[in-house]
Subunit: 209 residues, 2 copies
């Protein structure tokens, strides 16, 4: 079976679900081999304090088939990290799919990898994509050539299922969806910034960012 190398980039203040949502989907692709990437091996403190273990330093990562950049409040630091950005640029030359979740799109943009591409990110930051040369769309998942970007945090699950249909096939994507019982039933109808009132948006940003 052909190996499918999938790398998740970690940085301090990453939002764990941005990475772990797609991980639970993509790691089930036939042949998947996952790399957790950072400057050094060891625990990286995600938003809220959870430690996620990086197992591969950037310099030791083989060419990836799929790069996934999660977001989180640490995204500003990641956008200023020359090693991380150089790693993304180098991998992007050969990767099949270059993906991001939430404000991970801004990190891809800072690496110059979204110039001229349609893309999305967390609703609060969608306008910022234009400053990085991307064409922001108000969509949950955007695929433009080999760039695939997702809206805020939880949207990475939807993105990853769509990507499995491309990496493998739709039946595999459906089997993984069933396996993780992804038949969502949020108890409230408040997940969309399109329909949210301004004061709820303000509270959402206070609580989550």
């Amino acid at each position: 079976m052909t190996e499918v190398r999938i790398g998740f980039v970690l940085f301090p203040g990453v939002t764990a679900l941005d990475a772990v949502g797609p991980y639970e989907v993509l790691s089930r692709v036939p042949g998947a081999r996952v790399f957790w990437l950072a400057g050094e091996v060891g625990a990286v403190a995600a938003q809220g304090g959870l430690g996620l273990e990086a197992d591969t330093p950037f310099e030791e990562c083989p060419p990836l088939n799929v790069i996934c950049v999660p977001g989180g409040p640490g995204q500003a630091g990641a956008m200023d990290d020359p090693r991380l950005l150089a790693f993304l640029r180098q991998q992007a030359e050969t990767a099949d799919w270059i993906t991001a979740v939430c404000t991970g799109s801004l990190v891809l943009g800072a690496a110059g990898l979204l110039r001229g591409y349609r893309a999305t990110t967390h609703w609060r930051f969608r306008d910022c994509l234009a400053d990085l040369g991307a064409l922001p769309l108000d969509k949950r998942v955007v695929c433009d050539r080999n760039r695939v970007t997702a809206a805020g945090v939880s949207a990475g699950i939807d993105m990853a299922l769509a990507l499995v249909a491309k990496l493998a096939d739709e039946r595999t994507a459906r089997a993984i969806q069933l396996g993780i019982e992804y038949d969502p039933a949020p108890p409230f109808d408040s997940g969309s910034a399109w329909t949210a009132e301004e004061d709820l948006k303000a509270e959402a940003l206070r609580r989550v960012l």
Copy 2:
């Protein structure tokens, strides 16, 4: 602000999303303080290899307001771990909410904490709940008195949002839902075992368990 102590139990072979989904929701509750619990401090290898850092040994954990037991293929080992089960029983005496995601419900059941309670778990294991004295329901989230259980993997996000409405209030739950942009739009309609064909169910179990 009153501290709300929330503990996630880790064990080798835990499914990361079972824990990280509720974590991204519950850690935003006003006053939340999160504990990642295991026999020892350090990295615990989740299903697929991701290392999640335990920061608190069972014996050093203060009384929790919320206990969350995730599932995963390591659940069988967890059900046989006397320290883990004793920890759950002891915490359950004073906790406000005793919760589980996916096959974490079987671990709660093995600790004797679901006897006579309505509960749910991953669709493949729902019948097993009856062997542990619980009353299985085919629902995504089940709340019976202070036991709150969720169906497979991704259902922990829905469970946690419902729980925030009880722990804090509905407005806080809605703000968190908006903050993590949880307006799910799966690209396929294959997440429910009710409507899935038998051969897709077989493939789902091969890929995910």
